[in-house]
């Protein structure tokens, strides 16, 4: 076989040489034959003649020999390619339309594939990532998801489980880098076995060792980004100290840098900038033996499955282990979720199940667009094929086989699709970049969107498949006619009926696909509109949002320590004064209509509060949320007061007293305790009242948290405000109570502007820096934008599906126009006859339009039926409308019918103006 390849190559490379050899060989043969004849007695001339006669057709033999190798097939294909390119050049209009159509189809699909690849198909940056999974202690009954686990439980799991070869723990925290410029970073406490478990070696230095974890040594591993940004990528950073301050109670000490992770590594998310041993956590010793208490349940768990284990088997095993643990160590607190973890594969965790199904849906949708593009091009090729029949028939008559012609036509189609595919890749690169820039900050892995080798390969395969798809039918159809018939009749062919039927079917297919896409896009658009119409319950426009990391409170002075006064109270009061002063200053600044603090304008994460209302059923955790807000918040954001009063500055003083207040007598009943204890004033929302007070006026009522613990803390409801939807607008407002604001670390400053809120950013920063030196500004944005981040996924999927549907509509319209146009051209003679026989232009118009509209109408009917099934897949994406929303269906039908009508009308108008004399003369 190698020899065959070598010979073929030689023939390709030095064709002349090989040909001359062949000539020589043939020549010699004849000479030798001649000699033989001469020896046998013939004259030289006779001998030569005899020899030549015996040999037969010299050129024929040489031809056969030349075309026997694989190189010959290659060169004929190359001939076909050049011929195809010439043909395309000669028909620029046709070429332009088909190139554009194919480029759009392949470009859209390639762009969508690059998304699917970046988000779902590309493995995560760890060793054997398909074996990695997270273990959550969920409590679905209380609506708690991604629940964290106590260390002791993790130990139990780890020792008992055989499906997991190892488990590691992690917990993210906020830490301030104290070296200038000060930065608030996300860091993670991790167990030493995390890095070996993930299987990614450091790019510099080493990772945390088990010894360091056991001895609670303060070593830190940096992320690549942090290393580059703060240390300039200097490799002598190993051994240097990192000055840190933990935002939580116990500060992280200064840590020694021991290693740097590679650029592609991130765990548990891309924000985490460095990793320290879990044992450095300030309450490690206290919490490590606890199983039940909520504050001991703070660890995320990542596990690596044993080589033979599956997720399902691991889940079953851990279910069993969990039940056993439950029997051995019965829970002592009511809200313990149990020992059974929910195991989620790491990739699924990162991307989210919802996003995955959305992307597959969109990938399917864009496939429709490609099919429509193929149908269009096939139709155009069919139409053009009629014109080329004469040429093809001549070639058949001259001896070309049908197979050879089909091969040529398919090669031409492949040339077309290859060129279109190349353009498509360029389009996809642009679209990819735009998508990555727009959605990168909000959706997982979108920032890694790019057109790489795998994507290009996909585009190449798509181009080949497309070329075969749209080339096959026309090639078969066009060459199926017998050359005899074509050559006899001239340019007109009687097989146009079959061709018209094929064309018609293609248009029917196009239109049905277009209808499905249009209805899908319509449903999503209406859902988005309904969602945008939901009133969030507070002012979102024109409000500046500045997220701050406040500096630590000052440490007590020696006098205060000696004086044994309640330092905490004093410092808290001081902080309150500073903050209210700051709010007043900002409120007085030009362009400001109001300012307030909140801990976070958005409801984040799970609500794990649990309160007790005397005389009413216990409210379990997960049903309730709490926020801290400064008294001005409701006025600033325009939240209406429904009953009672709003919070005031005096309430803050009450709060401070309650926090540091004396301990009540525990021998009283809960109700009596409620009456006599100091209570912090709070405001609740209407959802709270609806849920827990069944519509009664709650003003004046009290509730507490942790009623059985040593520090029962009481709240008194002083007012009811309107609901604020501070989560995704699809969700119902969560019952909430608002405490007065006394932040320790993070805060969000909300400033209502008279004009553009971002214009106030600079002056606000200045005022904040003056009042609270050492504050780090985490993010400056507007409330609009922050709320907008909640809907990014919905807006993305709506936008993409709308784009695909629009492309489908345009392509379908072009397809319909093309077919009707060609059909009119074909029927020119017949139309001329009609008019000559007395038909009115209006009749011709109606006839052409009727024929042209039949396939689209049939297609729409099929599409409507099909979309009834397809929209079932979309039910989870809809909001506020039915699957069979009549407005969407009506709009789609009218829209597509209207466009189809216009597409038919234009050539029909031309047809109605046919001059019978000219038409009859033309053939």
């Amino acid at each position: 076989m190698l020899r065959a390849i070598a010979l073929g190559l030689r023939r390709l490379v030095s064709r002349k040489h090989v040909d001359r050899e062949l000539d020589d060989e043939v020549q010699q043969y004849i000479e030798h034959a001649t000699e033989a004849h001469v020896k046998a007695g013939l004259s030289r001339a006779d001998a030569e003649r005899a020899a030549r006669l015996e040999f037969g057709g010299v050129e024929n033999v040489k031809d056969q020999i030349r075309s026997a190798g694989w190189d010959a097939a290659l060169s004929t294909i190359w001939q076909d390619v050049r011929f195809g390119m010439r043909t395309l050049r000669r028909n620029p209009a046709f070429t332009a339309v088909t190139l554009a159509t194919i480029a759009i189809g392949i470009g859209a699909n390639t762009a969508m594939f690059s998304v699917v690849r970046a988000v779902m198909l590309r493995p995560l940056p760890y060793a054997k990532p398909e074996q990695l999974a997270l273990l959550w202690s969920d409590d679905p009954a209380r609506g708690l998801h991604e629940g964290l686990t106590a260390y002791q439980t993790v130990v139990d799991w780890r020792t008992s489980s055989r499906s997991f070869s190892d488990m590691a723990i992690f917990s993210t925290t906020s830490a301030t880098l104290m070296d200038e410029p000060r930065e608030r970073l996300t860091a993670a406490y991790v167990s030493a076995n995390l890095f070996p478990l993930l299987g990614v070696p450091p790019v510099l230095g080493r990772v945390i060792t088990q010894r360091e974890q056991d001895d609670r040594v303060a070593s830190v591993v940096l992320s690549y980004a942090l290393w580059q940004r703060r240390f300039g990528g200097d490799s002598s950073v190993i051994g240097k100290a990192l000055e840190l301050d933990d935002a939580d109670k116990g500060g992280l000490p200064a840590a020694t840098i021991v290693g740097v992770m590679p650029e592609s590594f991130a765990f548990p998310d891309k924000l985490t900038q460095f990793w320290v041993p879990a044992t450095l956590y300030w309450r490690w010793e206290r919490e490590r033996t606890e199983r039940f208490i909520v504050w001991a349940r703070r660890w995320g768990v990542v596990g690596r499955l044993a080589p033979a284990a599956s997720l399902a088997a691991a889940q079953r095993e851990l279910n069993a282990i969990g039940s056993r643990l439950g029997a051995e160590y019965p829970a002592t607190v009511p809200d313990f979720p149990g020992y059974v973890p929910r195991i989620v594969g790491l990739l699924e965790q990162v991307t989210g199940h919802e996003l995955q199904s959305t992307l597959w849906l969109l990938f399917g949708a864009v496939g429709f667009v490609l099919l429509i593009a193929c149908a269009n091009v096939a139709n155009l090729l069919l139409a053009r094929g009629t014109i080329r029949q004469h040429e093809l028939a001549t070639r058949r008559a001259l001896g070309a086989t049908r197979g050879r012609l089909i091969r040529q036509l398919i090669v031409e189609s492949l040339v077309l699709s290859a060129a279109g595919g190349a353009l498509g890749i360029a389009l996809a690169a642009v679209a990819s970049r735009a998508l990555g820039a727009a959605a990168g900050p909000y959706l997982p892995r979108f920032d890694e969107l790019r057109v790489d080798a795998a994507v290009v390969l996909f585009a190449a395969l798509a181009a080949i498949a497309t070329g075969l798809a749209f080339g096959a039918i026309p090639a078969l159809r066009v060459t199926s006619v017998s050359p005899n018939a074509v050559l006899k009749e001239g340019a007109r062919s009687g097989r146009s009926l079959r061709r018209r039927r094929t064309s018609g079917s293609l248009v029917v297919a196009e239109c049905s696909l277009a209808v499905v896409l249009l209805i899908g896009a319509g449903l999503l658009l209406r859902s988005l509109a309904r969602l945008n119409a939901v009133d969030p319950g507070f002012r979102t426009a024109g409000v500046l949002s500045v997220r701050l990391a406040l500096p630590r409170e000052r440490p007590p002075t020696p006098t205060e320590e000696r004086g044994r006064v309640d330092i905490g109270q004093i410092i808290a009061t001081e902080r309150e004064v500073v903050l209210s002063g700051l709010l007043e200053q900002i409120g007085a600044a030009p362009g400001v209509a109001g300012a307030a603090f909140a801990d976070d304008i958005l409801v984040r994460g799970e609500a794990d509060e649990s309160i007790t209302i005397p005389g009413r059923p216990q409210v379990p955790a997960g049903q309730l949320y709490t926020s801290s807000v400064s008294p001005e918040l409701f006025a600033t954001l325009g939240v209406p007061l429904r009953s009672g009063r709003l919070l005031t500055r005096a309430d803050v003083a009450l709060k401070i007293r309650a926090l540091w207040g004396g301990l009540p007598n525990h021998r009283l009943t809960l109700a009596e305790l409620g009456r006599v204890s100091l209570a912090e004033p709070v405001v609740v929302n209407e959802a709270f009242v609806r849920r827990f007070f069944a519509g009664d006026d709650p003003v004046g009522k009290r509730f507490c948290i942790d009623p059985t613990g040593p520090k029962t803390y009481w709240y008194e409801i002083v007012g009811v405000v309107g609901d604020m939807r501070r989560q995704a607008l699809e969700r119902q407002p969560i019952p909430e109570y608002f405490q007065t604001f006394l932040p320790r670390s993070n805060a969000e400053l909300l400033v209502r502007a008279r004009g553009d809120p971002l214009a106030l950013a600079a002056s606000v920063r200045r005022l904040v820096a003056a009042a609270l030196p050492g504050t780090i500004v985490l993010e400056v944005s507007t409330v609009d934008r922050r709320m907008g981040a909640l809907t990014v996924q919905r807006r993305l999927q709506t936008a993409l599906l709308t784009v695909f549907a629009s492309l489908a509509l345009v392509l379908a319209a072009i397809g319909i126009y093309g077919i009707v146009h060609y059909s009119v051209a074909e029927r020119w003679h017949e139309l001329g006859v009609r008019v000559a026989l007395g038909a009115a232009p209006r009749d011709v118009l109606a006839d052409v339009i009727r024929r042209g509209m039949t396939p689209p109408v049939v297609g729409m009917a099929i599409g409507l039926i099909a979309s009834a099934g397809v929209s079932r897949l979309m039910t989870s994406l809809l909001f506020g409308i039915e699957r069979s929303d009549p407005v969407t269906i009506a709009a789609t039908v009218l829209g597509l019918a209207g466009i189809a009508l216009i597409a038919c009308y234009l050539p029909a108008r031309r047809a109605s103006r046919v001059d019978p004399i000219i038409a009859l003369r033309s053939e």
Binding site: Q28, A33, F55, G56, V61
Partner: protein
Amino acid sequence: MTDASTDVIQGTLDMLVLKSLSLEPMHGFGIAQRIEQISRGVFKVNPGSLMLAFQRMERDSLIEPEWRTSDKGRRAKYYRITAKGRRHLERETRDWDRRATAIARLLEA
């Protein structure tokens, strides 16, 4: 010519060429003469088919080309059998014998 008989002829031709070359390398016409001689005129080889056969057999590495300068100073293309060719010839000869005996028996029965 039906495909079946061309196949037989092709296979037989290959065998005959290899047989001719098994003694010494020869040029194209020499092989044709040899085949005619050995088969006592039963097989008169078509030169075109022969040259196609040479090309095919060269591709399959059964024979090797060799350019020699004849005494007259002309370059001539000779073919030589390869080791693979010899093995092929052995195999084909055995097969042929087997088939021939089988056919003979069939015809006698």
